[in-house]
Symmetry: C2
Subunit: 380 residues, 2 copies
């Protein structure tokens, strides 16, 4: 129950059990067409979706390095480590970042974005993580944020690495220019691929850019995809097999809406249980992520103790804090192939762990509250 | 028989058939230590070898983006498409490239490098592919080239993507500052990982650089590897499993020297057969690559015809030309898990294909010449 890489469906594992194919062959082009069709469905876009051989951070770098010209002013609201990473990536390409440091537990809102854009009328790009796993927060009113950006005529870059497939994210309906996700989170494929969509407007900016990157050059990716259904450089073929299988499960079998509902139901169950257990969340009420919950350890016990008991006694692996949050939090993820029984098993393990460490038991109440949410939101 | 991705050993395929593991766990760190130990052995270096989730071109970009400061003068001898790619990558980061366009079929020599360095005393880096698969050429006197570079006190960047594991390449003994390879060529793992070694001197230059890239920041890779045996960003875990298994076969079982000999013997057999068949090579005698042979199609037949007959009639896949060489050549690779029987099968298929298309048959002679080389260089 860590925030990715997530457990793989046996069919996704088996998909990698194939001999290599030539990435300049018709066999590969067929795979690419299948992948592309389903990538567009999960992004809900008619834009191209490029599949990069890189982790999600590589996808963020692709956006920054193709869009940001020296001196471009870019607004980056920061709700945690991944907001900082985006700011770093933009600065690495000469962008002038206007950082909005949000209070811990909050996420970007349309109001904050509007105000900052009014104060900084020369901003040309707004970029941020929709969901920041380092603090367990989500920018819930994404439609309002994108609308505010459009009113100011700025490009929008949404890092959806830890959320696409776990919350509604219709790229075209909202009008997101660049949207990025990773293979290993809510899409439940192995890590190593970044998926990135570019609107026409974003592609035009990239095309005009004087120096584009080489490996992440989106203009090359477009040319190869549109003309030949190939990638410009050797792709991670085994991971393409796996992602294709994972997307077939999501799109053709479970259905994207139901796949998202499962994440939402699992999150509701976890939050209900957390409330019964009395553990304190980092995320404020309006910004609670459906894919990652970040908790403060109860007084006098450490996150390491909690994680250790959960792992050794209950075989449930949860995460600690990242970077500046190391030692200050424990995190439970609800990403990918997480069915109701695993949610309940995790809650049970957490309840018993807290009982062992603090003496305070609300195990029955927590499980009851979780079951109620699962029954209501995700029957059967 | 294409220049990568190469066929995988069944054990390498099976290695990917595992459930995902946490890349921040002891289990992953063990994998990383095993990988690192064997990477150092195939690079013959005591430098760190970083494993990037990216294709080989990403490795070249990592070198360029960490080393090249705006205005740095970089010497790039160009023997084919991959030399051009390196020049492009360097220019993308503001480097001023001094291109040495070599005659087709030639590769860099110590003499050319020496002369160019004397003419351009302000060059601070020399970078080039050791082996260029687009023309089937190798810079055979690599030790002499590196020596010439050292005499001028410049940093050396060697793109060994298509050759490391297929020819002797002792990084420390030669004193190469940055050496890059890919998982899917002579190391016979699936594509998607780039391996890159950095000398202390190269790391110092990277550390001093004002703006390093984000995803490919080698200073971060160093910190995470040395302090925690981890990668800074989520790695392609399944491919790490596969590469670890592939390196165990090469280093622990076959032995690196014998693995290299196999490539050399296969190449000798292919060249001997080609000579009997009378097909013309792009590479001049002194620059013949041991991993890729590039041929001109005989008069009045096209490379597409040859490739089609080989594939459809004999189930042997060979490659065409890349970029400006498209339609002008056919290429046979000898990379990775290519045993003697596959070399002979390929020669047999090529001989019969040429007989069908040109009427000219030297099948027996070609097979005999190839067998002689295999028996002599690689008995048993």
């Amino acid at each position: 129950m860590i925030p990715g890489p997530t457990d793989l469906h046996p069919r996704v594992i088996d998909a990698m059990r194939r001999q290599m194919i030539d990435h300049r062959s018709e066999e590969f082009r067929e795979l690419m067409r299948s992948l592309e069709e389903r990538c567009k469905k999960v992004f809900e876009t008619r834009n191209d979706v490029y599949v990069l051989t890189a982790s999600g951070t590589g996808g963020v770098e692709c956006a920054a390095s193709n869009l940001v010209e020296l001196g471009d002013k870019v607004l980056v609201p920061i709700a945690g480590v991944f907001g900082e990473r985006m700011a770093d990536a933009i600065e690495a390409y000469g962008g002038e970042v206007v950082r909005i440091e949000l209070p811990i537990g909050e996420a970007p809102t349309p109001q904050i974005i509007k105000k900052s854009l009014e104060e900084n009328p020369d901003v040309s790009i707004v970029g941020f993580p929709y969901n920041d796993t380092s603090t367990g927060t989500i920018a819930r009113d994404l439609p309002g944020i994108i609308r505010a950006c459009k009113e100011h005529g700025v490009l929008t870059v949404v890092d959806a690495v830890s959320i696409l497939g776990g919350a509604k994210l219709p790229v075209d309906e909202l009008g997101i220019d660049v949207c990025i996700t990773g293979s290993q989170k809510c899409l439940a494929a192995p890590p190593g691929l970044a998926l990135i969509s570019f609107s026409e407007k974003a592609l035009e900016k990239a095309e005009k850019k004087k120096k584009r990157p080489h490996y992440f050059d989106v203009v090359k990716y477009r040319k190869f995809l549109e003309e030949r259904q190939e990638t410009p450089f050797t792709p991670a073929v085994s991971l393409f097999f796996a992602l294709d299988e994972a997307l077939k499960i999501i799109v053709d079998e479970v259905g994207l809406d139901r796949w998202i509902e499962r994440h939402q139901a699992g999150a509701a169950a976890l939050y209900a249980a957390a409330s019964e257990l009395g553990v304190e969340l980092f995320a404020k009420e309006d910004f609670r992520s459906p894919t990652v919950l970040a908790f403060k350890p109860p007084k006098n016990i450490t996150d390491a103790q909690i994680r250790q008991v959960m792992l050794e006694k209950f075989r449930v692996r949860i995460a600690g804090g990242l970077a500046q949050f190391r030692g200050k939090m424990f995190r439970i993820a609800n990403i990918g192939n997480v069915a109701g029984d695993r949610i309940l098993k995790t809650i049970d393990a957490l309840a018993q762990t807290l009982q062992q460490l603090t003496g305070n038991s609300r195990r029955e109440e927590a499980l009851e509250a979780a079951k109620r949410e699962l029954d209501k939101r995700w029957p059967g």
